[in-house]
């Protein structure tokens, strides 16, 4: 779609810019400031240049946490995106069934994150939790506090349970926004279900799916409360993701400088990945007829 060229459009964007900049710019500057200084106490600080960044980038535990984080977010995207689209496609389209389905699907999203972790502690306990007891009933000894593999599986299940609904809702709204005429045309052409999906529904969902990928990537990369409550980063350090390690550095060692440098590095990693995803999703399949 060709857009109109007019710099007066800035006036429409200005309220948003002011609103977001108010909360964004000063805290960001402050954190950049911290990251370049060694802070001993109020009023006692020394400029240290990029020392903290060098220290952070050389930190082996950070590399380990980053590796785990990348695997976690990768799995999240690989599981939640296809599953979410599939569920959105099978969801009832109209009537009371659609209304009830929408409400039920949205429920897990509405529980505060710390509570989700706490509920899953009980839910997965082998003695008093439904999930733990069911797995034990299948003859598999289940205890996610002792086995790293089971801790990961439990976390992934919790994550998929909690966040797939976000993909479902976005994909569902995207599907509902496709004009009926496209489907009628496809029907007249005798297109198969698969062809309709691949050539009509999927391209038309590009916008909402781009948002879904970016949101799921960002939020899973920043995940803190759920694993912190459920596994506390354990057993050992096997589920110590970046943000859990960051809080250990920031609060545990009470070291604002390195923690600020860590935050900025963390931020740039997310920025880099989101930029790549955004560019790819903007352009993928653009060459084909849609």
């Amino acid at each position: 779609m060709d857009k109109w060229k007019d710099n007066k459009a800035w006036f429409l964007v200005l309220p948003v810019f002011i609103l977001v900049a108010f909360s964004a710019i000063i805290p960001l500057m402050t954190v950049v400031n911290y990251s370049l200084q060694d802070i001993f106490g109020p009023g006692q600080r020394v400029f240290v240049g990029l020392e903290w960044f060098e220290e952070v980038l050389a930190d082996r535990r950070l590399h380990a946490a980053l590796g785990k984080q990348l695997i976690f977010s990768g799995l999240v995207l690989l599981i939640e995106m296809p599953l979410g689209i599939l569920i959105a496609l099978t969801m009832p389209k109209k009537g009371w069934a659609a209304s009830i389905s929408l409400v039920l699907v949205a429920l897990p999203l509405l529980i505060p994150w710390n509570v989700i972790g706490t509920i899953w502690i009980i839910f997965t306990r082998p003695d008093i939790g439904l999930f733990g007891a069911a797995i034990n009933g299948l003859g598999i000894a289940f205890d996610h506090t002792a086995s790293p593999i089971q801790a990961w599986i439990t976390l992934m299940l919790m994550e998929v349970w909690h966040w797939t609904p976000l993909v479902v809702l976005l994909a569902y709204a995207g599907l509902r926004a496709i004009p009926e005429a496209y489907f009628q045309a496809a029907k007249i052409d005798g297109a198969s279900t698969w062809a309709t999906f691949w050539y009509i529904q999927l391209p038309k969902m590009r916008g909402v799916l781009t948002i879904a990928v970016l949101l799921r990537f960002m939020d899973s990369f920043l995940i803190y409360a759920e694993p912190f409550v459920l596994t506390g980063g354990g057993p050992g350090n096997t589920t110590t993701f970046l943000s859990i390690y960051l809080v250990k550095v920031a609060v545990g060692q009470f070291d604002l400088g390195p923690a600020a440098a860590f935050s900025l590095v963390y931020f740039f990693i997310i920025l880099l990945f989101c930029w790549i995803f955004y560019q790819v999703l903007q352009n993928v399949g653009k060459g084909e007829k849609s």
Binding site: D2, K5, D6, K8, A9, V13, P15, V16, L19, V20, P27, L28, V31, Y34, I87, T90, M91, P92, A98, S99, S101, L102, V103, L104, V105, A106, L107, P108, L110, I111, P112, W113, V115, T118, I119, W120, I122, F123, G129, A133, W161, L169, G174, R176, A177, I178, P179, A181, G207, L215, M218, L222, A225, L242, A259, S263, F267, I270, C274, Y278
Partner: protein
């Protein structure tokens, strides 16, 4: 409703989805002793004590009221500011449009932990600590960009011919925007409203940092269930069930916008 493979798949998903929530409901109707002593699919002795405590103790129910106030404020601010901005991004080329669009989203990418202190300092400078508007404004940091992004996607799905025809017919921008354009993207507004509600509702770190008592959110109140004698599981589960209710109402109200989608033929 016909029973098809499609329906069965969806029903199976819903069933699995509801299990943890059912378990929370189950826990909320038990006493702590019952929860921790034995496994039971249903509460043996149903007790409403956990719910009664929440509804009668003002330190509990005021948490819900505070959260509802700032979340509603945030939802209103986000939608009202994001609608024109999203329109600008979807219809116009202007100086720095792409950079600006992506910059908005970068505000969701910062890990909160270290940013909390400067946030607190910023909001205390303006004397906003422990007010609802402080939390509502702070949550705009991640909700406004999200709203702009979602709405822009839906707006770009509306053919530009609709705008052109309306302007040729002599519509002024505000009237065109409110009476013709907004009804076209009802589905998008429904999703956006729900997502703004949801992300603001479950956000804990910023809300807790910016409030002490008068605007304390429910998610922060819930951390009080941890005490010297351990966790009050039943109370926490009951509070958890109650945190779902307002959001479920929101999605119930926007469900028709979601399901109806594209309404062609207005112009």
């Amino acid at each position: 409703m016909k029973i098809t493979k499609r329906n069965l798949f969806f029903m199976a998903y819903l069933f699995l989805l509801m299990l943890p929530i059912y378990w929370m409901l189950n826990m909320s109707l038990k006493t702590n002793a019952d929860i921790l002593s034995s496994f039971s699919l249903f509460p043996n002795n149903i007790t409403f004590a956990n719910y009664i405590k929440i509804f009668t103790d003002s330190s509990w129910y005021s948490g819900y009221i505070n959260s509802i106030i700032y979340v509603t404020m945030n939802m209103a601010i986000s939608l009202v500011t994001a609608l024109p901005a999203a329109y600008a991004f979807s219809r116009y080329n202007f100086l720095g449009d792409r950079q600006m669009f992506f910059w908005l989203l970068t505000n969701r990418m910062a890990p909160a932990a270290v940013f909390l202190l400067p946030f607190f300092q910023l909001y205390s400078t303006f004397g906003l600590i422990d007010t609802h508007i402080a939390v509502a404004l702070a949550h705009c940091l991640f909700n406004v960009p999200l709203a702009v992004w979602i709405l822009e996607g839906f707006m770009s799905g509306v053919p530009k011919e609709i705008d052109e025809t309306a302007f040729i017919d002599g519509y002024k921008f505000p009237r065109f925007f409110l009476t013709i354009f907004i009804p076209q993207i009802r589905a998008g507004i429904g999703v956006t409203a729900f997502f703004c509600f949801m992300f603001s509702w479950v956000e804990l770190l910023l809300a807790r940092t910016l409030t002490t008592t008068n605007a304390k959110p429910i998610a922060a109140t819930m951390t009080r269930t941890v005490s010297a004698s351990g966790l009050d599981w039943g109370l926490l589960a009951a509070a958890g069930i109650l945190t779902i209710v307002p959001g479920a109402l929101v999605i119930w109200f926007v469900r028709n916008n979601l399901a109806k989608g594209f309404a062609m033929g207005r112009v």
